[in-house]
């Protein structure tokens, strides 16, 4: 064995500038991606399978499928992932980065690509992502620069639709009315009537003590109608109330709404309303018309 110092190493590098023909199928895919920012796949009608990247021949059954182009969405779901932490000259971005298999909506074969905008340790299978197209084209798969997490609209659970409501369904909300509530309500309404605020004045009235504004317990029906029954998305075009008993400070009021009638012609419901205090006494009663939620546009 010779000494290492005597061993001459010749540095070499194979560099082959080259032009790869993408094929007719690949050309169409890459041109669409570059010019239209659209991702296309080829569909095998026999296997009911959409291939992305496209193949002119079905991998499963061998059928010629080169004419069955379909557009797939630029959104998809992560089906596999890794975090690349080693650094190599052939990598398109500097590690660490997420490399994932992404099944685009409308495709059946996941596509490998880079995912950004998710903490490295938070990436997971099932994550929804969206393609971010490159500002400058390279006429390659990198015309999709990367995928980022899909910003989904916050999911809103609407209340009962007209069809789902039945006569007899009811819901309620309960709250104790305090001196603070009354004073705040005076500020909100501008009704600083001393019968609500001044105990010495109130002693002279038929009630003998301060009472709450009538509209204060009445307003407790709003969370029932707007958030419970029919629930989120409801509009109340009409409400009528008859006051039966005063509400004193410290009283606990339960507001109750019950579906009394379904009005098919308008798809509205009429609801009967009641307000009870902690003794079960009827504080107020009334009714309203409610337009149940319809899907938000």
């Amino acid at each position: 064995m010779t000494a290492k110092a005597d061993s001459f190493i010749v540095d070499g590098k194979l560099a082959l500038p080259y032009q790869y023909f993408a094929g007719r199928t690949g050309s169409r895919f890459l041109i669409q991606l570059r010019d239209q920012k659209k991702i296309q796949g080829l569909r095998c009608q026999t296997c009911d399978k959409v291939f992305v990247p496209p193949r002119s021949t079905c991998v499963s059954c061998g059928a010629k499928i080169a004419d069955h182009w379909v557009e797939v969405k630029n959104t998809g779901t992560i089906t596999g992932h890794t975090v690349i932490r080693y650094e190599e000259p052939h990598q398109p971005v500097k590690p660490p980065y997420i490399l994932a298999l992404i099944k685009l909506d409308g495709a059946d074969t996941p596509l490998a690509h880079i995912v950004k905008g998710i903490p490295l340790t938070k990436v997971r299978t099932g994550q929804r992502v969206q393609a971010v197209f490159a500002k400058k084209t390279t006429s390659s798969i990198l015309d999709i620069d990367h995928f980022r997490p899909l910003e989904e609209k916050p999911k809103i659970e609407l209340g009962y639709s007209y069809e789902a409501l039945e006569v007899g369904m009811s819901a309620s909300f309960t709250k104790t009315i305090s001196e603070t509530d009354v004073y705040l309500f005076a500020g909100i309404s501008g009704d600083f009537n001393p019968m609500h605020l001044n105990e010495e004045f109130a002693k002279l009235t038929p009630f003998g003590t301060r009472i709450a504004h009538g509209a204060l317990p009445q307003s407790l029906i709003a969370p029932v109608l707007g958030m419970k029954l029919p629930g989120l998305g409801t509009v109340i075009p009409e409400i009528t109330v008859r006051f039966r008993k005063p509400t004193y400070f410290g009283d606990t009021i339960t507001a109750i709404g019950e579906v009394a009638e379904k009005i098919d012609a308008r798809k509205w419901v009429r609801m009967e309303l009641r307000w009870l205090n902690q003794k079960g006494e009827l504080v107020a009663e009334g009714s309203c018309l409610a337009i149940p939620p319809v899907p938000l546009g």
Partner: protein, 377 residues
Amino acid sequence: MNRVAICAVAQIKNEPDIWYQRFQGMVLECFESIVRQTGVTFDMEQGIRNVVTCSDDVFDARTISDNAVTDVVGAHFRGEEKVAQDGLNALGYAAAAILSGHDDLILVMGHCKESQSESRLMNTNLAFDPFYCRPLGLDFLTAAALQARAYMRKAKLTEHHLAQVVMHARANGARNPYARDNPPVTETDVLTSPLLADPIRQLHAYPVTDWAAGMLLCCEERVHEFTEKPVWLTGFGSCMDSYFLGDRDLTGNFALKRAARRAYSMADIADPSTAFDLVELNDAYAYQLPLWAEGTGLTPEGSGGAWIESGLDRVNRSGGMLNGNPIMLGGLARALECALQLRGEAGERQVDGARRALAHGTTGAAGQHHAVLILER
């Protein structure tokens, strides 16, 4: 029916960097050993008329990599064919040439010096298409990492299982004089080894290795001319899965199951889980050992974790690819170890009375292609 046997095997030691020898010299050592062991000649009537070599243009950074060893392997004026896939396919190809009656004596030689590449992963990036995958920086490690995560979830494989596999490889490698010399590792070493591509850690990946090996294959009629201890090749199968990772079930062993089924059918094996005295699986990465065990039917699908827990006594006594073999030659190394074991020449790591063995090789990203060989004495 014709039978074919391995008459002789030769190898140099697996090393991280054979700086002192060109690959021609590495191959020549193996070649001379086989000639010495068997007395085989290159006589046009009675000698070697066909050579199958295994090497790769990209890893040798030249075109027609076999051209650089044609004279070394004595292939002038006779047939010489190159297999640029895992070496087990070179062996299968040579065996097929003999079984078909095309020839009766074939030399198989393989070489690879991973150390000479600035980056072996950059080389494997070139295995991907230039349109959809290569620009994204995909290489064999990236593909393996995607497979590893999916498989670990499916088989309930933990980091502790993987550490067991690595320690097993290192312990067996230490008993194999031709294996790469690696420092011993503890479970903690493996568990805290740096992450390369989640969930694959540095110690989960086979190390950069240089190696060469050779074998002489012969038809049954003439085996006695070259050896008293023939190792019969009784079954071979191979299968290629889809190219795109997204087209495949990365944990389903589509290709390996079919390769194994073909090999078992040839060798009349009904139950692979009890059929072998030893198995050699081509584990480039630790997670692959149980995955390939499932694919070859050694253990039911999804039970790789439990299979590791049940003990790896008769698995990869050579140290496996995980201890260090270069790409291209992992499967050839597996077959070579099986041949030594069946000949009773495996020294300290000998499986007593071994009669039948399985060797496995794989080529491409995340096991796209698989080959399975059954060897018997």
